[in-house]
């Protein structure tokens, strides 16, 4: 018999548990370090970190408090002001985690970016945010150097793992361990609506948008970590997500540390046996992973799992893309417990639809709305909720939960466009069964969900057009057994260029370097013309439908040569 579903608390209960008084100060940096020390967890391990070379670091909550004080004071000494955007562009090194809390402590807006971004992706996001400082590593500063001169707002380039002698003029070396520890630091007196984090996300049109969050998001992130991830005192927790993406900050920094648990971080690429050895070594109790990773593990089989003692695992969750039923069933066989799917996005800041611990999991279902979140599906034409079980509609949420984004950075029109009839539109389609479980159907736009990351076609097509051989292009999703979707590009060549595998590989690598490996088309099809409307707009949905073997729908306004 399944255990009863835990009774979740309300947002108000979460405020009370954290000791937050409405209207009073709330600083995530302080709540995730100093508060835990005051609560008697100063000597509890907050972070155990190791990398692919086997190097290890351990930080207690008191270490975390002092290190983030020191980091925050140092940032302030550079002349950085509250409200300025400070980018973290690093692999999963300790300075990334410490820097995130330090920026919040000194009142800055943390802007984490995925370290695999190429210089063009980086430039787009730093320029839009008007970023004042970037904190990075020696191996990534090379990309920053290529673009720094074209970013007038960027005053500081900070490198955490290289001495000043190895840096260029204008760059600053930060050796955190060598700074005098700052025992007392007055955290910036931010309040609920003070901006905290800026995470960029992709849409169908235009360049990526910065979803702006506030310090009050802590309430949602804490409560969902405690209830959905089931984090309890003494837990050892591993979140696979990179803090360059929202899961890596909401549930890879804020939520677990607000709950006072021990986080383990592995700064290494995927390797199944290494992952199992890591779970075993640290006696991980709660594991938050992603369908792509789970499917890669499935490919290695259950025999490999049996070689490790993974009996410490108590609760498994997954995020990033729909968790297919096969993966849920496999995890039950492999680990003796199912992965629980969680649905949310950059803009929501916290889990909004989910399978709670103890709730009977229906393999393939997203679960039900988190208590405190009002969710439904809307008719795509009228944007009114419809109750018919099984009928597909647009996933919509009633605004008002603590961690909802407060806007897109410098783009109020795009923000307004996310609402209809008082509902926030997630951009996804789903149906609801008679028992209230949500079932994911697909995106409602042209955004490509690859390995749990959203990639916008516009950014890829713009980069493709910069290649001298490309006359026109369209980027669409193509189904993939591991990543759910991957990018496929359709390219019309300029006269004089010949299609072939050499050119295909060259274009793939150009996009990988400029944008990111995620945005690199895994296949390029050279075609004579793209399907367009009479007004000349490329109709991606036809190309996508062909890739998925779906009906192309109404093509009466489409011209194809």
């Amino acid at each position: 018999m399944a255990a009863p579903t835990l009774a979740p608390s309300s947002w108000e209960d979460a405020e009370h548990e954290l000791g937050y008084r409405p209207g009073g100060p709330i600083n995530i940096g302080w709540f995730c370090s100093d508060r835990l020390c005051e609560a008697g967890l100063a000597e509890t391990v907050a972070l155990r970190w190791e990398n692919h070379e086997g190097r290890e670091r351990t930080y207690t909550y008191d270490d975390l408090r002092v290190a983030t004080n020191t980091f925050a004071a140092w940032l302030r000494s550079l002349g950085l002001e509250p409200g300025e955007r400070i980018c973290l562009f690093m692999d999963r090194v300790p300075e990334l985690y410490l820097g995130f809390l330090a920026i919040l402590k000194m009142g800055g807006i943390a802007q984490p970016l995925f370290s695999a971004f190429g210089e063009e992706s980086l430039h787009t996001r730093l320029e839009n945010a008007g970023t004042a400082a970037i904190v990075t590593q020696k191996k990534h500063v090379l990309k920053v150097r290529k673009i720094a001169a074209t970013l007038p707002a960027l005053r500081h380039v900070v490198v955490v793992d290289a001495p000043a002698s190895q840096l260029k003029p204008g760059e600053t070396s930060l050796a955190l361990d060598d700074l005098p520890p700052v025992e007392r630091f007055d955290a910036y007196p931010s309040t609920a609506e003070t901006p905290s984090v800026l995470h960029y996300t992709s849409g169908t049109t235009g360049q990526p948008k910065g979803a702006q969050h506030v310090h009050y998001s802590l309430i949602s992130q804490y409560l969902t970590s405690r209830v959905v991830l089931d984090l309890r005192p003494g837990d050892i927790y591993w979140c696979n997500a990179d803090p360059g993406w929202v899961t890596g900050t909401s549930y890879g920094i804020i939520g677990p540390w607000a709950c006072g648990v021990t986080q383990v971080v592995l700064d290494a690429g995927f390797q199944a046996d290494r992952w199992y050895a890591f779970l075993q070594k640290h006696r991980v109790t709660v594991w938050y992973s992603a369908p792509t990773a789970i499917r890669l593990l499935m490919r290695e089989g259950t025999e490999l799992v049996r070689k490790y003692d993974l009996t410490s695992l108590r609760h498994l969750c997954s995020v990033g893309e729909p968790l297919n039923a096969e993966a849920v069933i496999w995890s039950q066989q492999a680990f003796g417990r199912p992965f629980h799917d969680t649905f949310w996005q950059t803009e929501t800041g916290c889990i909004v639809i989910t399978n709670l611990p103890g709730m009977p999991v229906r393999p393939g279902s997203m679960g039900k709305p988190f208590p405190g979140i009002e969710a439904t599906v809307l008719d795509p034409r009228t944007h009114q909720p419809h109750d018919a079980p099984g009928r597909v509609g647009l996933i919509a949420l009633r605004p008002g939960w603590p961690s909802m984004m407060r806007g897109y950075w410098k783009n109020p029109a795009a923000y307004q466009n996310k609402f209809r009839n008082g509902w926030y539109l997630c951009g996804d389609r789903a149906s609801i069964d008679p028992d209230g479980y949500f079932w994911f159907v697909g995106r409602d736009d042209d955004v490509i969900n690859t390995g749990g990351h959203l990639v916008g076609p516009f950014e890829i097509e713009s980069a493709l057009l910069e290649h001298p051989a490309v006359a026109e292009s369209a980027a669409v999703a193509k189904p993939d057994p591991i990543n759910m979707e991957v990018v496929k590009a359709f390219v019309v060549l300029k006269p004089g260029f010949e299609a072939g595998s050499d050119l295909e590989l060259e274009i793939m690598n150009v996009i990988r370097r400029k944008l990111s490996p995620l945005a690199m088309p895994q296949e390029i099809e050279f075609i004579k013309a793209l399907p367009k409307t009479r007004s000349g707009k490329i109709v991606r949905r036809i190309l996508r439908a062909r890739e998925f073997g779906e009906p192309v729908g109404d093509v009466s306004t489409v011209m194809e040569e």
């Binding site: 692919h52 070379e53 692999d91 695999a116 191996k139 090379l142 990309k143 700064d267 290494a268 690429g269 995927f270 390797q271 199944a272 046996d273 290494r274 890669l296 490919r299 290695e300 690859t450 390995g451 057994p481 591991i482 990543n483 991957v486 595998s501 050499d502 295909e504 590989l505 793939m508 690598n509 990988r512 490996p517 995620l518 690199m520 895994q522």
Partner: protein, 85 residues
């Protein structure tokens, strides 16, 4: 080092290491687990060796473990060269 291994090593250095990056990459350097090549970038690396050596590596064999070093990739290529011979 044989020609095949050298061609792959040169390609990895040229395509996956930023110009000016002084990290040493050798034939046994961990590429995937070491964070130099991720699972998405692995596709272009696979495409390169398939094109260069006229082979087709099935997805089931193109695992992160099989692409984790230049030596391992060279070994994989040799195996499929024999299959195609």
């Amino acid at each position: 080092m044989d020609d095949l291994t050298k061609v792959i090593l040169d390609y990895v250095k040229r395509e996956y290491i930023e110009e000016g990056d002084d990290r040493e990459v050798g034939v046994d350097t961990a590429l995937i687990s070491g964070g130099i090549v991720d699972s998405f970038s692995m596709v272009s690396l696979k495409r390169f060796v398939e094109k260069k050596y006229g082979i087709a590596i099935p997805d089931a064999d193109a695992t992160p473990a099989a692409f984790d070093s230049v030596n391992k990739i060279a070994e994989l290529v040799r195996r499929f060269q024999q299959v195609h011979a």
